[in-house]
Symmetry: C2
Subunit: 339 residues, 2 copies
């Protein structure tokens, strides 16, 4: 976090812009409370910072990227609300999720409000048409990634027969990376891209920023997958083993662990993942232990390092100024973070 | 429907544009099926037609408004998916709703895809910045209208304590019209506005189109409210009495009926509306009968005619060409429609 302390001024400007985009003057107190809860939740604001740094690297000013940065943060918060509804997650950043606190129906409305406000921000940005197109593309990709993620689950959603009938019986690494590209990496890729676009960078520079963003995006998700199983709840603010509990094969550690297991173990592992009833705590711990017996964590980190290396490589073609150094730091930090 | 037959060519162009905005070339067959179901469902395409007519009235060409018209149709279909999820509606236009057919989680993803595609259309339209801003505004207003509509319900959603605790005990006509303005009328208002914007109409002309749209929008909702109780399921393709079954006070007929009832009846009516358990068919029929005993239908039609008159009045300041005649026809038609 110390890394971001120096940019507090920018974050404050983004936050106040987010608020003014979201809130209309005649909004009731109750509505304001809802909206505030949904965007001011102790998020790391890493996306606006990334957009700003990418803009600075190629010679743009903070002013150039301010609206687009606020927009990407709004769009990110929109996607968190929807993901939490879909995954029935009850905890995020140590607090009840929006749907858990206000109910699913109200959460839907708040999510729509956030998405609309994101596009409002895009329309007010320096290059409105390009930024709107980027936002639309990333929102479409996220929807497709999320759909894959759902179909990778091995159990649950008995009330959703389409999902049950169309699940992936087997998830390959290719499937996984396709899902992650769309669900997570596209978002970070777009974040870095708008930094370049708003700075009027060259096509080559924008492409380098996109590559950087894509690769740290995948690494970010891989670290998330690792923390889901090896993290500490009191640090991450989230439930440990959630991907196992929800029987997701869309987690690299789980996929790699599964790949490594011998016949007997694998059969037991998959039968628990496909069990119709909710897992007991005992069973969940059994799954965690089985994963921990493999080299999956180390191998996942290996994949992660590869993506970080690609990200660092993409930075080499960019102006080698102080801002590019910060982007390097962020890339290094991603696999070290504990939350 | 005969009214719209002559515009079949335009509708076909809109539909094919909707499809190309929605679908990416490497989308799987399964995804295409999902997307097709969600936008090609026998909808009346009244919004694209309205946008086109409004554009023509003030001298624009169909080309000018094509993208914006496709966008508003996508945004409309997005909002239908979300509304159906929130209201747990199982039937629309005689078919299972998107969530009913594909499950709530997948429906969420499809909805996000539609909304994103709507903004993609807006970005490609003749006046992208203005059209995106209008779309963002209408999406925000719809979210707020929907939230009010939820809070007007008198029972249900026991699993959503925020809603239960924040319900309106009493809904005034002002509350109702605020909800309808945001939830329905804003949408039609925006539809007519983009017609004018894409035709580069004058501020006064755009304002007249907005007023026309707003007023037919409210009338449209009033007719919907009436059909909910007095319609024929085999004609509307929807369940009769759904607003009563879901205990909505956000229906003008129900509000007016309630206002008219004498003490004893009113007490019985409200106690059924606030009953915790699901209504039996007997109770639902009792509610319908109680509404039918009042003058609520006639009075609601009176309100509707007022809004139609305002809409016709707004048209007078516009060029009196053949297209304005069509807009008049639509205004006349709204209160006569049976579905």
């Amino acid at each position: 976090m110390g890394l971001f302390g120096v940019y507090e001024g920018f974050i404050r400007r983004v936050d106040s812009l987010v608020w003014s985009l979201l809130c209309d003057e005649n909004d009731s107190l109750g509505l304001r409370e809802l909206l505030r809860y949904s965007v001011f939740s102790g998020g790391k604001r890493i996306r606006p910072l990334l957009a700003m740094l990418c803009c600075r690297v190629v010679g743009g000013s903070d002013e150039d990227v301010l609206y687009a940065a606020a927009g990407i943060e709004l769009l990110h918060n929109y996607s968190l609300i929807i993901d939490d509804i879909i995954d029935r997650s009850v905890l995020r950043r140590g607090r009840p999720t929006v749907w858990k606190k206000f109910g699913v129906s109200v959460a839907q409305c708040v999510a729509a409000d956030l998405a609309a406000s994101a596009f409002r921000a895009a329309a007010l940005s320096k290059h409105p048409v390009k930024v709107v197109e980027i936002f639309a593309r990333v929102m479409k990709r996220a929807a497709r990634g999320e759909m894959l993620d759902i179909l990778f689950e091995q159990s649950g959603r008995e009330d959703e027969s389409y999902v049950v009938e169309n699940r992936f019986n087997h998830v390959t690494l290719d499937d996984y990376f396709q899902m992650v590209s769309n669900k997570t990496a596209a978002f970070i890729e777009a974040t870095c891209e708008i930094g370049g676009v708003c700075a009027d960078a060259s096509e080559e520079e924008i492409e380098a920023l996109r590559r950087y963003g894509y690769n740290i995006g995948v690494a970010f998700q891989i670290r998330d997958d690792i923390l889901d199983i090896f993290g500490k709840a009191e640090v991450t603010g989230e439930e440990i083993g959630k991907d196992l509990r929800t029987r997701k094969l869309g987690n690299l550690v789980i996929l790699l662990a599964c790949e490594e297991m011998m016949n007997e173990d694998k059969r037991r592992f998959l039968s628990l993942m496909r069990k119709n009833e909710e897992l007991t705590n005992y069973e969940l711990n059994e799954l965690i232990k089985m994963v921990k017996k493999t080299n999956a964590e180390e191998r996942a980190m290996g994949y992660g390092r590869n993506f970080v290396d690609n990200a660092l490589c993409a930075l080499r073609s960019l102006p080698q100024n102080e801002h590019v150094k910060q982007l390097e730091q962020i890339a290094f930090f991603i696999l070290r973070r504990e939350k």
